[in-house]
């Protein structure tokens, strides 16, 4: 698709017009910084981007169609893991919350606390990748390695609890697959003490670095009203100054009992809603997640995590939509049941898909180097965009 778009421009001092052409540049699907297989068609005029057209579908794996052929609702969970493979626990959390509402099951409190702990670990892990790869896109390679090193500590905890590092199949409908190990509380606390200084180091190295600020402040500004019109959610929305978090505005599980803040972009380094704000919201959210972890591990009650596992998962016919706050934004599951043990329809509203749709609005008029910065600040994972 190589249309030549010509435009006439009058160059000052020459008195005659200079014909220029706009070039169509294809960024991806194979590109070091598109965070997966995404094709961005850039229409550029020199270095200025005139339009951005994302082309998706390179990672479509028919998740929703697969679910219709499962013999049991339980089998959906390994597939749900693989949507946003970076924060797999959050996907599972959304699904089991939705299923338990459909089946009208109440899970033991211990299960709720452990699920929240795992979800907040998943938030930390996802934001570490987001922040690390963002630094790498901007050119600073070292913070990425630091983030990976910290991530390994969390993955070790996951591996000890459920046996897998990246894709867990841990949260089951009605409970969990395993109870946590006896030294879990100690490990969580030691992680919290280990991690806080690392956040400070990250801020020293990357967040307040003048060059990083120059690259990200006032770039890709997404005004609050535009963000709401595009239905973006998560840190992308909070970076624009809108204080909306499903954990506070439409709470689920035990979030109402926990004390944490919702960081919001304030335009500290540039304009409200620029890339730096979105990035900083993620860094501050990691800090808040550590607070939540410390509170939840104090309050963790004893109990049996498999007490409420249903013998047979056969929900009544009906449908419902449940949303949860994943690190990327608002993940929604729309479940339709026809009364049998096999799912009839599992539709996923993916936050990355919706956030990506706002990319053209943010990127028009910026430079090519900025497109990379803006894409990194939205933090997409193609597994979730394409499902």
């Amino acid at each position: 698709m190589e249309e030549r778009m010509t435009s006439e421009r009058t160059v000052a001092g020459f008195g005659r017009s200079l014909k220029t052409e706009e070039m169509v540049l294809s960024m991806g699907p194979q590109h070091p910084s598109t965070h997966g297989v995404l094709r961005l068609e850039l229409v550029v005029d020199g270095e200025i981007v005139v339009d951005v057209i994302p082309h998706l579908g390179y990672l479509h794996r028919c998740f929703e169609k697969h679910c219709e052929h499962m013999t049991s609702y339980q089998q959906v969970i390994p597939y749900a893991d693989r949507m946003d493979y970076v924060a797999a626990m959050s996907n599972e959390f959304g699904y089991v919350v939705a299923m338990e509402k459909l089946l009208k099951i109440k899970v033991p409190e211990r299960v709720e606390y452990i699920r929240v702990i795992m979800a907040e670990f998943s938030r930390i892990v996802s934001h570490l990748i987001a922040v690390g790869t963002y630094g790498m896109d901007i050119g600073a390679v070292t913070p990425f390695l630091f983030c990976m090193r910290d991530r390994e500590r969390v993955l070790d905890i996951f591996e000890q609890t459920c046996g897998a590092r990246l894709l867990y199949n841990y949260m089951w409908i009605g409970g969990l697959s395993h109870d946590v190990q006896p030294n879990f509380a100690e490990k969580v606390r030691s992680f919290c003490t280990y991690f806080r200084p690392k956040l400070k180091e990250l801020n020293d190295l990357l967040s307040y670095n003048k060059i990083f600020i120059d690259r990200t402040a006032n770039v890709g500004v997404l005004p609050a009203d535009v963000a709401l019109n595009y239905a973006v959610s998560g840190p992308t929305l909070r970076g624009s100054g809108v204080r909306w978090d499903v954990r506070k505005n439409d709470p689920y599980s035990i979030y109402p009992t926990l004390d944490f803040e919702i960081p919001v972009g304030t335009g500290a380094m540039g304009t409200v809603g620029d890339c730096w704000d979105r990035y900083m919201v993620r860094v501050k959210e990691m800090e808040q997640s550590v607070n939540i972890l410390e509170q939840a591990i104090e309050k963790l009650p004893p109990g049996d995590v498999q007490a409420a596992l249903p013998k047979r998962i056969r929900p009544d016919a009906g449908d419902l939509y449940v949303r949860t706050e994943t690190p990327k934004g608002e993940l929604g599951y729309y479940l339709v049941s026809d009364g049998t043990a096999s799912p009839f329809r599992v539709k996923v509203k993916s936050p990355c898909f919706v956030n990506l749709s706002a990319l053209p609005a943010m990127a028009r008029g910026s430079m090519i180097a900025d497109v990379v910065a803006i894409l990194g600040s939205i933090d997409i994972v193609l597994g979730e965009v394409d499902r």
């Binding site: 499962m70 013999t71 049991s72 339980q74 089998q75 959906v76 969970i77 390994p78 597939y79 893991d81 070292t142 090193r149 390994e152 591996e159 000890q160 609890t161 459920c162 046996g163 897998a164 894709l167 199949n169 697959s177 395993h178 180091e201 020293d204 190295l205 990357l206 307040y208 670095n209 003048k210 060059i211």
Partner: protein, 199 residues
């Protein structure tokens, strides 16, 4: 004017702070381990390659039904009452010959959903993660321990037993009709082996 000099100053200061961080990290120990000379010990719950202890398998098919990617293929043949397949380690009586138990470990997604439904806990996820092969077909693991002629023999025995049962049923329904049918003589029955039925 103030912002101009302020920017330059902030630029210099933040760059120096960043350089301090990386300088300090030159002297911190590395976190890398030198695989394959040094290997990490996996936790006890680690979910890696599957293993099936066929002595305990009763051929119930629960694992195969639980698998979300259909990587387990099981075929069974019913045993006849004259054969004793023994007990599993938990005391269940085995009633089925498991003639085929294939796991395509390349398809397996390592979710572990096959492990809890097993009544005898014979399918487990081990901590083996170094099992790459040069030929893709070697990734289909055949766990069944029956030789093809044993499978054939089991099938024949089952077919004969069922034919027997069907004939017996027909004969039981017949005595009300013709009392004498000398021409029809039943084929000689195979006498069962003289072993007692162990409980």
């Amino acid at each position: 004017m103030g912002t101009y000099f302020g920017n330059i100053w902030r630029g210099i200061v933040t760059i120096l702070i960043g350089m301090g961080v990386t300088w300090r990290h030159l002297f911190t120990p590395a976190v890398t381990i030198q695989y394959p000379d040094v290997k990490v010990k996996l936790p006890e719950r680690a979910r890696n390659r599957l293993y099936v202890n066929m002595d305990d398998c009763i051929g119930c098919d629960q694992c195969s039904m639980a698998c979300p990617v259909d990587c387990i293929t099981i075929e069974t043949v019913k045993s006849t009452p004259d054969v004793d397949l023994g007990l599993t380690s938990v005391g269940t009586k085995k009633r089925l010959y498991v003639t085929q138990f294939d796991i395509d470990i390349a398809k397996c997604c390592y979710c572990g959903l096959c492990v809890p439904p097993c009544p005898t806990e014979c399918i487990v996820m081990t901590d083996v993660y170094e099992f790459s092969e040069f030929d893709r077909n070697n990734l289909i693991y055949n766990f069944a321990t029956m030789m093809p002629h044993d499978v054939e023999a089991a099938r024949t025995r089952l077919a004969a037993y069922e034919k027997d049962q069907a004939a017996k049923k027909a004969a039981a329904a017949k005595p009300a009709a013709a009392p004498s049918a000398p021409a029809v003589s039943e084929p000689p029955k195979k006498t069962p082996p003289a072993s007692d039925n162990k409980v």
